[in-house]
């Protein structure tokens, strides 16, 4: 059964298993981990080189953060401005409060077009609202045109990275998928041959499918323009050949002025792919007679974004420009790849974005899927303090737990509650140190180390020893020394 019909069960935060559970089979998948490590190493090295050559990188970051923050502070105003300008230029703007509404709008538009097929430029937002299964259910076939998305669509797989969705697949696996699904015998795994196969497959679609769907990297309020950046030219094809273009964009994608692109495109290309400029930057404003699609719709999607916007600490999440630099540098993502996050948005940004889009009703383990090493914050081109938001969300998850019944079976919860009582009084802390020493002696080997502990302790000793508690705490030593000195 094809992926598109089956839906995206792995990447649906409502249905996804917890992060630790989802990570486990991936940790056992040596090939996938090798692919992820290799790909992230390559992108990271390219990014590091291009960031280093930019002597004003920190200024650029500040400027980008400011543009995005300002746009969000005045989001209503800029969205209305975008709507007015886009409409004046011949586009039609639709507003969707949630995923279901956005899917309905797009399916209705496709029906109006009497479309039986539609071609798509890579859009993470469409995966967020699980658009493909809805389109398929309406009897319309959606063809992905981004190379990585084709690999995933033909391989019944799911995106694992925001910028490089098939990052977890290597070229011999791509060769296998193409050979099987395109029916090509004797296909080599030479990248040029593989892209040639994809090109042949795609050309037919570009020439005969008159309806296209895109996402948006930016919406320019000042002019009503939509910007899409890409590397392969498939987007340019979709933006020139079809009769009708439907663009799906989160309301967070708006920037105030055309000239803001100067900053945004610089930080995006360098952060995302380690390029000075991305190969294809397409900008279009409404409809131009005789040039490109003659019918143009923009679906502006909220789907939880305004509720994020309402929270001062979490608001910065919406500054994200989907460069995925945080994924590439994240030591957690580098081990697990994207699928463990159970959402189209993986990595550190996914760990804060997904639970918020779910109103914290799902994906509650994601804010804990980080060692808080802050490598993400360091590379973020729009300075999203991801660790800060992670901590905020962790506090909200714990507050949920306090109110619910699950806490009664959570030993760690009670451990931390009790630890807090102990830390409140030094004599209790001393007593606990003494008790801990006696208790752990039972598990301490002849070599003075602990190799096994039960329950939560066992989660430590699964891969790590722990030195047994010394006979004398520091405070005991200090007290004894002070006494000796007198």
């Amino acid at each position: 059964m094809s992926q598109a019909v089956a839906g995206h069960p792995i990447l649906d935060p409502v249905l996804a298993p917890t992060f630790p559970k989802a990570a486990l089979p991936i940790l056992r998948n040596a090939q996938l981990r090798k692919n992820v490590t290799h790909a992230t190493d390559v992108i990271q090295a390219k990014r590091a080189k291009l960031v280093a050559e930019k002597t004003d990188w920190q200024d650029l970051r500040s400027a980008a953060a400011e543009i995005r923050a300002h746009a969000l502070e005045n989001l209503g105003e800029y969205l209305e401005q975008f709507e007015a300008r886009c409409t004046a230029a011949g586009g039609t703007v639709h507003w969707a409060s949630d995923a279901a509404e956005a899917r309905q709008i797009i399916v209705d538009l496709l029906r109006e077009e009497k479309a039986s097929e539609v071609i798509k430029i890579k859009t993470m937002t469409s995966a967020e609202i699980q658009l493909n299964p809805a389109i398929e259910a309406a009897g319309i076939h959606a063809y992905e045109t981004d190379l990585a998305e084709i690999i995933l669509q033909l391989g019944d797989d799911e995106p694992s990275h925001i910028v490089v969705p098939a990052l977890h697949v290597n070229r011999s696996q791509v060769r296998e998928i193409f050979a099987r699904r395109m029916g090509i015998k004797d296909l080599s795994d030479d990248p040029q041959v593989l892209t040639g196969a994809a090109r042949n497959y795609l050309r037919q679609k570009f020439l005969k499918v008159p309806t296209a769907i895109s996402g948006a990297n930016f919406l320019v309020a000042e002019t009503g323009a939509v910007a899409v950046v890409e590397s392969e030219g498939n987007g340019r094809m979709c933006l020139t050949l079809p009769r009708t273009m439907i663009t799906l964009a989160g309301i967070d994608k708006v920037i105030p002025r055309f000239k803001d692109l100067e900053v945004m495109l610089q930080v995006l290309a360098r952060s995302a792919t380690g390029e000075r400029m991305n190969p294809y930057t397409s900008l279009w404003t409404g409809v131009t007679p005789g040039d490109g699609p003659q019918r143009f719709h923009v679906v502006l999607l909220d789907n939880g974004r305004t509720s994020i916007l309402a929270k001062p600490k979490e608001r910065q999440t919406l500054r994200c420009i989907r460069c995925a630099a945080c994924l590439n540098t994240c030591p957690v993502y580098r081990q697990t790849g994207g699928h463990a996050y159970g959402s189209v948005y993986a990595g550190p940004i996914g760990a804060i974005l997904t639970p918020q889009l779910m109103h914290l009703e799902h994906a509650q383990t994601l804010p804990f899927a980080s060692s808080l090493c802050a490598a993400c914050y360091e590379v973020c081109p729009v300075k999203i303090n991801i660790p800060e938001v992670l901590l905020e969300l962790r506090a909200q998850v714990v507050d949920q737990e306090r109110k619910g019944m699950d806490k009664f079976k959570d030993l760690l919860y009670w451990g931390l509650r009790i630890a807090n009582l102990i830390f409140a009084r030094a004599w209790l802390f001393r007593t606990a140190q003494w008790g801990g020493r006696i208790g752990l002696r039972f598990f301490t080997g002849k070599d003075g180390w602990i190799h096994w502990m039960p329950s939560w302790g066992g989660r430590w000793t699964v891969s790590r020893d722990l030195r047994g508690l010394p006979d004398q705490t520091f405070r005991q030593w200090w007290a004894a020394r002070a006494k000796g000195a007198k």
Partner: protein
């Protein structure tokens, strides 16, 4: 100079030799040290696990305890980071004006050990002798939290006999992350595996850091794997002198 030692809860309990080394080192450099017996924990574990109210009560306790201290020295960058990065938010949300005032007055006098040595005592050569090949692991909180820079390296470079070993992917997390190491123990173990690989490639005798928490994690794996490398807190290296080799882990 006078200073108050906040040893931190886990150093007190698990790594008292680090505390003893800090005392040896600072007293050798002429610092008059005091230890306030009422101290317990800074609240980091609670704050990082989402227990904000609990973290606040510990933070408040700590600020009150040290409000009249001349300087507070802490041999753990993550605890200092907790105070610098998280206390302000906690006090803004849950504290009152007097607490915020006391905290604002105290914060500039709180130092991580190597900050205290380099910035306050203005020493780099602390007269240490440690004839070993040592890999310095810059903990995430020291590196990206405190922006501690090369202070620890400058100190280590002046230790006689010590040979510094460069680590590949030096700025990558070891996978500890407090309760992350047990909540996500499989992923944490995978991260640790990568770090141990990079460390063993250095062929160093010791791995050192300014945080015993990372070292507990790394050292736990080294011990489990019968690897020929040990972990040691930087204070123990800096306290070591010829003829009086400080007890190593």
């Amino acid at each position: 100079m006078r200073a108050s030692l906040f040893i931190t809860c886990y150093n007190d309990t698990l790594y008292p030799e680090t505390g003893r080394a800090v005392v040896t080192l600072l007293e050798r450099l002429g610092v008059e040290l005091e230890f306030r017996a009422a101290q317990t924990c800074c609240g980091q574990m609670h704050a990082n696990t989402g227990f904000r109210a609990e973290a606040f009560s510990q933070a408040k306790r700590l600020v009150r305890l040290y409000s009249d201290a001349e300087a507070v020295v802490i041999p753990s960058s993550s605890c200092v980071c907790m105070m610098r990065d998280q206390y302000p938010g906690l006090f803004e949300e849950l504290g009152n004006e007097s607490l915020r005032r006391d905290f604002a007055a105290l914060l500039p006098r709180v130092y991580e050990l190597t900050e205290f040595l380099v910035d306050q005592l203005k020493v780099e050569d602390v007269g240490a002798y440690f004839p070993h090949r040592v890999a310095y692991h810059p903990s995430c909180h020291a590196l990206r939290g405190l922006h501690i820079g090369d202070r620890p390296v400058r100190l280590l470079n002046k230790v006689r006999g010590l040979e510094l070993a460069p680590i590949e992917n030096v700025d990558r997390c070891c996978g500890f992350g407090g309760t992350f190491s047990v909540k996500n123990f499989e992923v944490s173990s995978a991260m640790l595996g990568a770090k141990v690989h990079d460390l063993l490639s250095t062929k160093a005798d010791y791995c050192t850091a300014v945080d015993n928490s990372c070292l507990m994690h790394i050292g736990g794996a080294l011990h489990r794997q019968y690897a020929g490398m040990r972990t040691i807190h930087i204070a123990q290296i800096l306290a070591a002198t010829e003829g009086a080799a400080e007890e190593a882990a």
